[in-house]
């Protein structure tokens, strides 16, 4: 299979149907609802998942994992496994201790942060259930798995540390010798004491952001191979470029001898933004054995060992005037790091630090985050990464404030939000929001939702004490995305920059290869990037191939996360196209015997201003390839590359409204309608945007109602399978009504903001606000997430008593 072939099939089918988002003649590709180029391989089963890779002589790896949350490994002997059929090798942490290094943490958020050594395979002590303690390499996966049962290992149990508050007690058992406090990070502006002094209204709440398991549908898989000199690693990763650098550092394999490939990747949502133990260990095994090795996780292995998300206790105080105007906000977070600090574990809650004020104006802000070690799987990025937690807090608080004051939740927001003529606006968290129109998005959402009618129905149901109550939840969110300005990352002690890279190769036949440093894993960049290039260079959409995810052919980049691909990587691509055009303009001038200043470019053709004389970019590409007659000093190449480093974040926003029916007899909840109006700036492909919003909303709803990673008091994960960790199916979710408003971002030439995380960030508080709203007549002020039927029922019992 080649991409060209599949693109051809798609093109043919698009042409056949005549309705597949193809822009009308002379219309721009950008903005068209192009169907995705990626789909050809995905709907036909020709996808290149990492587990699909089979190599001659390949060996299969299985890991023995700790059944205990915290224990000393007093004895481990892998040698009995060697006698099992098909087993080629077996190793323990001790065998690998000299070469395995320590998994990296790239974001030490404070000077005095505790960053414990994190051996990819535990050596003397295990600190979470599921930590690898030994491995077997065998000729097939069944035999590798069988032989794990022959490994002999003795543990001496140590106390589990499960609860964050208990972990911070002086006499708490320690996860690491240095103690359970990883760091304390503070931030504040304005006079917070003044804001709270004599405040007419203070709303104090504690919210728990439960621990989530990201659950990309594709389980992780890694294939490592070596030719004796250099190494190639295939991994189901979002970050091949970061991975290459980090793996080189950890393993000592020189960067130029290590190629990392992210083939087709089946979702990530942040969970594949990581340098994992298995990636390091597979490289070491390939190096030791000289054979290609493959490991594919099972789902239950993944639930234990793919980094988890969220897990914060949020202590919040909001001070307001009697009319609802905000004075100040205090945020005191406990953030569960789990047992180790992984790639950006400590930074996740800090990404939220600048978002707790949401879209609102206030005088003072005070933020403290304490990172806490526990004997659980480390946490790290999960869709939204810090910002959903912050948005949940402020949006829940705004509803609580409205209830306290007897105001409509929309009205209390209106009294506090930044108005459209106040942009650019520097917030209390020192973020400068460049653009937005909260009134417009809210107006549209209210109309689509039928807000007044639903409020009337709610009131009617309350009056007649209907056992099925109706709740309406509001979430007027913003988020910072387009991660990230390198200067900001530097100021926050992050270990790298936030720029992005792109290159454009003009091929002799006029076709184009666009190389991008981002690493799509389901988003549709091959399609959207083709649209951008088609407009920028005036070439047909079908003539663009997008190359990514392989450090040998897309050598440079910062990968995909934080809603950054378009807002940073897309802009880099525009810049690279600009350079191609500029080079071509000089060649065109020479070919047309005119001055370069007189050359205009439109729709793929360079013309001498005021004349019909022109030459196409494809003709120029061929001429440059021939190089028979190039102007002096011009190289025989139009290829260009560019990096883009944003000056600032971008700030999508929107208004999400959710109506929930609550069966007060059982506590069951059911989403009746959901409206999302998002302003994500300019849109490259509305179809892809809508898909991102849908999926984001679904994941946010899932946090509100269904998902929770549960550990027992001994640190055993109880939700190791999909039968226990509940994900919503089609039968559990409503249809979503989505619409957009558009205020272009001012920080980039595309005017784009980012959409990957918006739905998730907005939806969780909308749903929980709706559940709580339904139950206010019962005296309910909160329902912990996920709002399970039992929790809802107990809230009603508790509130009513």
């Amino acid at each position: 299979m080649t991409e060209e072939l599949d693109a051809g099939i798609v093109a043919r089918q698009i042409a056949e149907s005549g309705e597949l988002g193809e822009p009308a003649r002379n219309r721009h590709e950008v903005g068209a609802a192009r169907r995705r180029k990626e789909d050809a391989r995905l709907v036909t089963g020709r996808t290149r998942w990492t587990d699909n890779i089979q190599l001659p002589g390949m060996l299969y790896v299985a890991f023995l994992r700790s059944p205990m949350a915290h224990a000393r490994v007093t004895r481990v002997d892998a040698s009995p496994a060697l006698h099992r059929p098909g087993v080629v090798a077996a190793f323990t942490g001790r065998d690998l201790a000299g070469e395995q290094g320590s998994l990296p943490c790239a974001w030490p958020v404070t000077e005095d942060i505790v960053v414990p050594a994190h051996p990819p395979m535990a050596v003397d002590e295990v600190r979470y259930a599921g930590e690898a303690v030994a491995c077997v390499v065998a000729t097939d996966r069944y035999r590798a798995y069988d032989a794990l049962e022959s490994i002999e290992i003795d543990y001496e149990p140590l106390p589990a540390v499960v609860d964050m508050n208990a972990a911070l007690e002086d006499d708490a058992p320690r996860v690491h010798e240095e103690g359970n406090r990883a760091y304390v990070w503070k931030f504040g502006t304005g006079d917070i004491d003044a804001a709270f002094r004599d405040a007419p209204v203070v709303v104090e709440r504690t919210f728990v952001q439960q621990r989530l398991i990201p659950t990309a549908m594709e389980p992780r898989a890694v294939v490592a191979q070596t030719d004796g000199d250099s190494f190639t690693l295939h991994s189901s990763t979002q970050v091949p470029h970061i991975l290459r650098i980090m793996l080189a550092t950890v393993t000592g394999i020189p960067e130029h001898k290590l190629r990392v490939i992210a083939p087709d990747v089946g979702g990530g949502f942040g969970s594949k933004l990581q340098v994992t133990a298995e990636e390091v260990l597979l490289l070491l095994l390939a190096r030791r054995l000289g054979k290609p090795v493959k490991w594919t996780e099972s789902r239950s292995e993944g639930n234990l060992t793919v980094h988890h998300g969220r897990d914060q206790i949020q202590r919040l105080s909001l001070a307001a005037e009697a009319d609802g105007r905000l004075r100040g906000l205090r945020v005191d977070l406990l953030a569960d790091m789990g047992a180790y600090l992984m790639l950006i574990t400590p930074g996740i809650p800090i990404l939220g630090a600048f978002m707790f004020n949401g879209i609102y104006k206030m005088d003072a802000y005070d933020f403290t985050c304490t990172g806490v070690f526990t004997t659980k799987m480390p946490t790290d990025a999960y869709r939204g990464a810090g910002r959903p937690e912050a948005t949940f807090a402020i949006e829940r608080l705004m509803d609580e404030l409205a209830a306290e004051l007897g105001l409509d939740p929309i009205e209390v927001r209106r009294r506090n939000w930044i108005t459209r003529d106040e942009f650019p606006y520097t917030t209390v968290a020192n973020m400068t929001y460049d653009s937005g129109d909260y009134e417009a998005a809210t107006r549209k959402a209210l109309a689509l939702f039928g807000y007044d009618k639903l409020r009337a129905e709610q009131s009617e149901r309350r009056d007649r004490r209907d056992p099925v109550q109706l709740g309406i939840g509001v979430s007027t969110y913003t988020e910072m995305c387009g991660l990230a300005p390198s200067r900001v990352l530097g100021s926050l002690s992050y270990g790298a920059g936030g720029w992005e890279y792109a290159a454009v190769r003009m091929l002799p036949t006029g076709k184009v290869e666009a190389v991008t440093g981002v690493s799509p894993h389901g988003q549709g960049h091959e399609t959207a990037w083709s649209q951008i290039v088609a407009d920028a260079l005036g070439v047909p959409f079908e003539d663009v191939a997008v190359v990514h995810g392989d450090t040998a052919i897309a050598h440079k980049g910062m990968d995909t996360y934080g809603s950054r691909s378009l807002a940073v990587g897309g802009v880099a691509l525009v810049r690279a196209c600009d350079k191609v055009r500029e080079k071509a303009r000089h060649v065109a001038a020479h070919m047309l015997e005119a001055s370069a200043e007189d050359i205009e470019f439109s729709e793929g053709t360079f013309r001498v201003r005021g004349t019909e004389a022109g030459t196409t970019i494809q003709e120029i590409a061929l001429a440059v390839f021939g190089a028979h007659d190039l102007p002096d000093g011009v190289e025989a190449s139009l290829d260009s590359d560019a990096t883009f480093d944003p000056d600032d974040f971008s700030f999508p926003h929107g208004t999400h409204l959710c109506a929930v029916e609550v069966d007060t007899e059982t506590g069951a909840t059911s989403i009746r309608s959901y409206v999302a109006v998002d302003d994500i700036g300019k849109v490259i492909n509305p179809l892809i945007v809508e898909g991102q919003v849908h999926g984001g909303i679904a994941q946010g709803i899932a946090q509100a109602l269904f998902e929770e990673a549960v550990y027992d008091s001994e640190g055993n994960l109880l939700t190791t399978t999909m039968a226990d960790y509940l994900l919503p199916s089609a039968a559990d979710l409503p249809d979503f009504v989505t619409a957009r408003t558009e205020t272009p971002a001012t920080g980039n030439p595309l005017g784009v903001k980012g959409v990957g995380e918006a739905g998730t960030i907005a939806s969780t508080p909308a749903v929980v606000n709706a559940v709580v709203d339904a139950l206010r007549p019962y005296g309910v002020r909160d329902v912990p997430m996920p709002c399970t039927p039992e929790r809802v029922w107990r809230a009603i019992q508790g509130g009513a008593s």
Binding site: S298, V468, T666, A668, L718, T721, D732, P789
Partner: protein, 315 residues
């Protein structure tokens, strides 16, 4: 994950199956559709020495009307049950509950007898079995015996099946005319196991004035103890309860005003609600990720009322 090794025998007759089982002893397992067993094997929660595959034996498969009862062969799939006109006519409650089992693909492979023999108290069919007084036909090399549903389910994942014995069929007594049926399943997501389920059958009498009363009721409870339970106290107390004049639509799942009985149950609902409030008597629900025992008890009471109401409304 991957199952541990086992031997495999595809039985060519029931006689052969029970002979192999008798030889293999306690470590042998019967394989029918495998929809409960395969996940256990993959998670290595079960290590059978030999699997005896009875999935292809025609004598174990299919549904027959045998006059007073419906005969359901043990390896009849859930999908076949749902489609069976004999089941729909003779024991509609079985079809209603089976339609809520797992998902369509699992129902294509999973079998009626397999679900019963697995005896998961959170499974939907065992509660129907006790409610309808099903009879279980067990066969071994020493012959055949028949046990009642309440005797069949002995403990959590335990049945009256002895080593070497297989379940060949289940007989479902027909209840006759005038009965309505409903299976009320309460679960967090469509594919999740029942937190609590209630299987109800109600015989309704209509007086000359048009008043509707419960003449007889059967109630089975899912996941209210280590075995499926029969709520006999509810059944006795419900007799003669007055039923609402306008039948409700029957439906499972998410709440909506149209589907729910009114709030505080004044008027003719009272007797039925009082009867339903006995549903958690003699139950011993467990605590798990999705519910505490107290909440399960509460649900049993609420859902029993709904199940009885909906069942009656179908008459």
């Amino acid at each position: 994950m991957i199952p541990a090794s086992f031997d495999y025998v595809r039985a060519s007759s029931v006689d052969e199956a029970v002979e192999v089982l008798a030889d293999a002893g306690e470590e042998a397992k019967v394989l029918s559709g495998g929809q409960s067993l395969l996940p256990l094997l993959r998670l290595r929660l079960a290590y059978p020495s030999v699997l005896v595959d009875v999935g292809r034996l025609p004598e174990l498969r299919g549904v027959r009307d045998e006059g007073g009862h419906v005969h359901i062969g043990a390896t009849t799939t859930h999908d076949e049950i749902i489609r069976s006109p004999v089941v729909r006519a003779g024991c509609p409650l079985v079809a209603l509950a089976t339609a809520t089992v797992a998902d369509p693909a699992v129902r294509h492979r999973g079998t009626f007898g397999g679900s019963m023999a697995h005896a998961d108290p959170a499974g939907d069919l065992p509660a129907v079995a006790v409610a309808l007084d099903m009879e279980f036909v067990l066969r071994s090399t020493t012959g055949e015996r028949v046990v009642t549903a309440t005797d069949f389910f002995t403990d959590y994942l335990e049945t009256a099946l002895e080593p070497g014995e297989i379940l060949t069929a289940v007989r479902v007594p027909k209840l006759g005319e005038g009965w309505g049926y409903h299976y009320e399943k309460f679960h967090r997501t469509a594919q999740a196991w029942a937190i609590v389920g209630v299987a109800a059958a109600v015989r309704v009498t209509v007086s000359e004035s048009g008043a509707r009363h419960v003449a007889e009721a059967r109630v089975g409870l899912t996941n209210m103890g280590p075995t499926p339970l029969r709520a006999t106290a509810v059944e006795s107390a419900a007799v003669d309860a007055e039923l609402p004049p306008v039948p409700h639509a029957t439906a499972n799942g998410s709440p909506s005003t149209a589907r729910l009985p009114s709030a505080n149950g004044s008027g003719p609902h009272d007797t039925l609600r009082e009867a339903a409030s006995l549903a958690d008597g003699d139950t011993s629900p467990t605590a798990d990720l999705h519910a505490t025992p107290d909440y399960r008890r509460h649900l049993a009471r609420v859902l029993t009322h709904r199940a009885l109401t909906h069942a009656a409304a179908t008459v």
